[in-house]
Amino acid sequence: MTGNGYLQIGLYLAALLLLAWPLGLYMARVYAGELPVSVRWLRPLETGLYRLAGIKPDEGMTWLRYALAFLAFNLLGLLAVYALQRLQLWLPLNPQALANVTPDSAFNTAVSFASNTNWQGYGGETTMSHLTQMLGLNVQNFISAASGMAVLVAVVRGFVKREADSIGNFWVDLVRSTLYILLPLSLILAVMLVSQGVVQTFAPSQTVELSQPVQYEKAKLDADGQALQDAAGKPVMESVTEIWQTIAVGPVASQVAIKQLGTNGGGFFNVNSAHPLENPTPLSNFLEMLAILLIPAALCITFGKLVGDVRQGVAILAAMTLVLVGLGAVCIGAEQTGNPLFERLGLATQASDLSAGGNMEGKEARFGIVNSAMWATATTAASNGSVNAMHDSFTPLGGLVPMWLIQLDEVIFGGVGSGLYGMLMFAIVAVFVAGLMIGRTPEYLGKKIEAFEVKMAAVAILVPPLAVLLGAAVAVVVDAGVASITNPGAHGFSEILYAFSSAGNNNGSAFAGLSANTPFYNGMLGLAMLMARYWLVIAVLAIAGSLAAKKIVPASAGTLPTHTPLFVLLLIGSVIVVGALTFLPALALGPVVEQLQMLGVR
């Protein structure tokens, strides 16, 4: 890597941590109901929404009622996205007259966007009308993110409250997340992105005249639109000359801004943020990459502030950042070292100021190696899942990093809200393990951690791996699962494992060679996404309710302090050990064996 590469990484981390601090404090004030002056004018809108919906904002909810409100809201949203896709041909704002989406794909996409996964089995520009993108997908981008943030705030209240029934009001947390955090940030980011060239228009596709006409072969069709075959049963090809280029456009910037900020990741176009109209310049790339981790990082500070000890949040942020930097270095190194094949074929693969070098298959020239590998690390550390390079074409080791980051239960930054509440489950396990070692009842933030909390935390930690490993195991033994593979050998297994890791942890990125838009994958991955999101939320809210009912025990000499470097290491250890024990056998069959094969090719 060149010196410039280190500079870009340093700049990114500095910007992230510097912005996370003020944003975290701002969010703490929003959730505490002490609105900063800058957004106080939106207050009437907030109270108006409550009045319209018949909500009493001061009314607290038990954990069960909070969970039911969360589920009812998510279920209705899911149904709305499904209906919009199934009816889009007959609805307005469909300038390309795109057909209604098939039931299995519509189910998969509805679950995907409601659960903040944003796995995309479909190609955006060839499947979804402007209306579906706006009223269906874009709305879910906001409210699935806001739902995750609401659950986190409820869990934090579990630690703060003493001997209480209530963990807050879901509707209030939802509205405040949307109105005061997601909307203003998205608006700012969207306008900055347009300035770089991200499109934002309701016009249909643009048609331009090619400088050099393109000749290509395509299958000849008979009068009924069926492919003609010759005597040998091979399709008859005909040569076609194209003199026009059709450029898909749409209201892209508004969607890209929230897809990044809300750790959604569902792109407007098929290739997501690799598309030049979704991510046109290195600066737009920097801003989008910053937006991936911004809110998850800032929420750590918010958490610390709300529990009355910012150091608690800093410790968690430190643990997340250390894992991110460590695994990011591996990914960048692997991609820059590249594929021995390219050197064998006599290509120039050295990095310099005039060429990015390395493994450039599936990467864009403006991003090169460093920004592609950094993005891959950030988007899988967070449960974002947007891509600016094709993970399927990464070197085996370079592709192992994003896959494993997803498999670590999406707690290294993770989804907005969901990443931190997932990490708090690991914190509970970490203090529990430490408590066993020193023979005392574990405590975290003044609350006794007892059998119920540890059981629920174990459920929350083990549900995603269950969905991943069971799903992948089924897919590799049935024909419908194996038929979708693009790449032969160990890489084909990696494609399937990655798909279930992504769905079973609500990430949404893919080894996109896998043809996942089939009834089998739409159904299986849809189920994995449902389990990972909703089973987990119930367990997490149950802990919140149980903690809220407890007294606060004052810290004593036997209390393990949870803001020290020792605890940071203990927390990282819990995450890594669980992730390694669960997934190393599976990874050995995919990327590990492929890396060894690749090094054997000389």
Binding site: A69, L187, Q206, V208, N270, P282
Partner: protein
Amino acid sequence: MLKELKPAFVMLMALTVLTGILYPLLVTGIAQALFADAANGSLIEQNGKLAGSALIGQHFSDPKYFWGRPSATGPMPYNAAASSGSNLGPLNPALEAAVQARIAALKAADPSQIELIPVDLVTASASGLDPHISPAAAAWQAPRIARQRGLPLDVVGGLVAQHTQGRQLGVLGEARVNVLQLNLALDAMRR
């Protein structure tokens, strides 16, 4: 759960209006007012007709043009209505075959060029629409363009330099050359 259905329904409708209608309309209004050209696709108009987008590459295979990144879109390369990468894994024999064919085509178009080919010139881009190549990839092709067009090499080199963007703000991303704009400038020179 039934008790929560009414607020759930009203909230969904209200937030749909707010985030699904008002928000994109507001962004569109601001975008079209401040950055109309960028918001509409950074289109290039030449001689009264649309010749492309500054952000979307086009397919070039004629030796007198600079060639861009290989594109994996279907059914034709650089199909900007259906973006796609190759998604070929690093050990896939199809990747080796594709790269070998591209090397052969480049060498056939300029047998006298003996420098190593920069890797980005023979590997498919992520989007299939990448408008850029590395400056090294442009330099590798410059002698061929000069010969094909009967231009001095330093004139072609000067034109490449004009269409080379350094790292943004001096730091971000990679240096790159916009292939379509460079080729349009070459064609304009002939007139």
